[in-house]
Amino acid sequence: MPKELVPVIEMREIGKSFGSNPVLKAVDFSVEVGEVHALAGENGAGKSTLMKILQGVYQKDSGSIYISGSKVEITDTFSAKRVGIGMVFQEFSLIPSLTVAQNIFLTNEPTKYGLIRDSKAKSLATELFKTMEVDLDPGRLVESLPTALWQLTEIAKALAQDAKILIMDEPTASLAKHETEGLFSLIQRLKKKGISIIYISHRMDEIYRIADRITVLRDGSRVLTSRLEDLTPEKIVEAIVGRESSAHLLHRDRSENISEEIVLELENLTCGSKVQGVSLKLRRGEILGLAGLMGSGRTELVNTVFGVLRPTSGTISINGKRIKNNSPADAILNRIALIPEDRRSQGLVLDHPVTENLTLPLIDQLTVAGLLSSKKALKKSQEIIKHFEIKLAHPAITVGSLSGGNQQRVVIGKWLATDPEILMMDEPTAGVDIGTKGEILDLVRTIANSGKSVILISSELPELLSVSDRILVMKDGRVSKSLDRKEIPNEEYLQLAIQGAS
């Protein structure tokens, strides 16, 4: 059967520049029928540009695209859909106020005499879910579904439009463990039906589990395409980061920097059902890692300490003195800072200049006769920018125009300028590339070495293991395990502890 040998997608020597900045340099990329092809690379390596060309969001400058052997021009998202390319968006693309079936058939609604037949749409959707072997009521409103089912709805929507190729961008980012398993078995079934999947992910274990081949991009060029069984994870990481080593992920013993002095002590801290009787002690200079699944109560715990949530019982003491944080303002006075999980919505005012963002928590120190002094603010922000090596053209540009890594530095800089004793960070490396990740982790170490104490939440275990001096594992709102870093032999051990298997 020679037809099987023709790749479903073949992109040849794709080139693309934005202005004078080349983002793709003659990239070749092909996907076989029924193949799961992983696409990896740092942020800015060109992955998303390549995929956007395939979806018709961007136009290529040079090169050609073949679908099932015949040359096509993809000029817009509609022509991409016509040739069978479906996208499962990282940020979900459904209409929350419509039902599952209404979303699946949006713009393809079955009609009779010009009126939509919702019952027909519903039965078609039911059938579609049956072939996907997924149990989901298509009559439910999307907004009432848990996120995992949103994603299934998106996949169904793409399949309903006869997609032959699905592009999945970090599809497991918001899924719990068992939901990920469900997604993987669905991917296996789709493969058997001859559907090809381009799988964009940073997670090595997932790539090894489900992908057949991997392509790595770096600086706009393809540096590797290979079957996964011929590759070691080290080879892949090397291809992704290039010459840079991954030294920042090595754990260094920093016990000489930790004093015996207890800075923060929680006793039986409880907040509703999310945080249940958590006790912990944090020493000066210590980096305490919080591990756990999504929903295990980590975020709620730091939010309770920071005064965003009110504790229902239990106590918080700082330097041996009991305190009450009724609001973040109180917490800041008690020299606690929290760098929240979602920096775009909780940590920054994206449309405001860097200066204003940096000086927001310091605003009281920047007044002259009760009025804000922009001179003082500029001077202060330049200090912070210099200290945290934030790369920008001018402090007056908006934060939203900075790269993810630099945005994160602005958040960290903003809070450290308040001179906190205790810094809590919730997933500080989410959404930044490997290079920036390393810099942020180094920054965390530097902060702790300067005598501050850090509580770090991260779902990326290698990173948690590399900086933490001690790791608390949380499960269902409780601390299920407290592990000294030295007691943890490897990542698997910690993973098992998180899953509750050991």
Binding site: I95, P96, S97, L106, T111, S144
Partner: protein, 320 residues
């Protein structure tokens, strides 16, 4: 929160009943009963009084149906009251100069053109609808005053008054026929046609709708044009009932219209549109106005109580 193990179909249906979205029906019945008891001696339940309530709310209802589309698409139209006023004036002037049919055409065109201008600015130049229609609000009142020198324009054409005002078709007042037509078509188009679905998709998630192939700019243009058309029809109904065109007809109606739509369960953030709810929202406001008058409250007291009731009902109908 989301308990997925529904034990029996009835239980799940009960859970799915969104009482917040349907608060208007509960509030409607509650207020109606309350007034029926409190005002039993003032003739509240007298058929003539009830008929009057419906008659007086007809214009608000017509505008509210069109506004339901605008708000479902996550836009807003503040110019409806002004369009109604200008349309009443233009209709009256055109009838006296050129006759009945040109008059009706002219009145309707005023609304469609004003709506199309707002819609074009919003859809293709991406100017926020709040600002565009706020500007329109002032601009159109100005035009209406200008062309009439702020004077009322009487309408003598009895056919016009019969069709748009106090006429009857058999036992049914024509104004009810207008309301039934507008509400009926509005509800079917919203719930059963691609256009209605695309309006809600546009308001529910603009980017996603665009990626799915919904022509979101066109949707925004059309809803604002329709809103202008609806407001023009309301203006013509004012002109028919009051037998004249005047720039004041419809002044301030935008607030009652928006309140009626939100009360009816349409989300101010877009994505949801309940045409029947808007009808009840409009009549609910009329009910309150009427009841407060019968209670003997003076105008200033009415305004305070009405405002408070609307805030309360909107707060309750808000999702989360």
């Amino acid at each position: 929160m989301s308990n997925q193990t529904a034990f029996a179909p009835t239980l799940s249906r009960l859970k799915r009943f969104e009482w917040r979205q349907n608060i208007i029906y509960i509030a409607f019945v509650a207020v109606f009963l309350l007034f029926a008891v409190l005002l039993r001696d003032s003739g509240f339940t007298n058929p003539n009084n009830l008929m009057n309530i419906l008659r007086q709310t007809a214009t608000i209802t017509v505008m509210a149906v069109a506004m339901t589309y605008v708000i479902a698409a996550a836009e807003i139209d503040l110019s409806v009251g002004s369009i109604a006023g200008l349309s009443s004036v233009v209709t009256a002037m055109s009838i006296s100069s050129w006759g009945l049919v040109p008059g009706i055409m002219a009145g309707l065109s005023v609304g469609l053109v004003a709506g199309a201008i707002s819609g074009g600015l919003v859809a293709w130049l991406k100017v926020p609808s709040f600002l565009v229609t706020l500007g329109m609000l002032g601009l159109l009142v100005g035009v209406a005053r200008w062309i009439t020198a702020s004077a009322p324009i009487p309408i003598a054409d009895q056919t016009y008054i019969a069709i748009f005002g106090g006429g009857q078709l058999g036992p049914v007042p024509t104004i009810f026929i207008w309301v039934t037509l507008v509400v009926g078509i509005g509800a079917i188009v919203m719930n059963k046609t691609k256009f209605g679905r695309h309006v809600r998709a546009t308001g529910g998630n603009l980017v996603a709708a665009g990626y799915t192939g919904v022509k979101t700019a066109r949707v925004k243009f059309i809803v604002l044009m329709l809103s202008g058309g609806g407001a023009a029809l309301a203006g013509m109904l004012y002109a028919g009932r009051l037998q004249s065109g005047r720039f004041q007809w419809g002044t301030g109606d935008e607030l009652s219209v928006i309140a009626a739509v939100i009360l009816g369960g349409t989300s101010l953030f877009g994505g949801r549109g309940q045409v029947i709810g808007s009808l009840f929202g409009a009549v609910f406001i009329g009910l309150i106005n009427n009841g407060l008058i019968l209670m003997g409250l003076d105008v200033s007291q009415q305004q305070v109580v009405r405002g408070a009731i609307i805030i309360l009902a909107v707060a309750l109908s808000r999702k989360k």
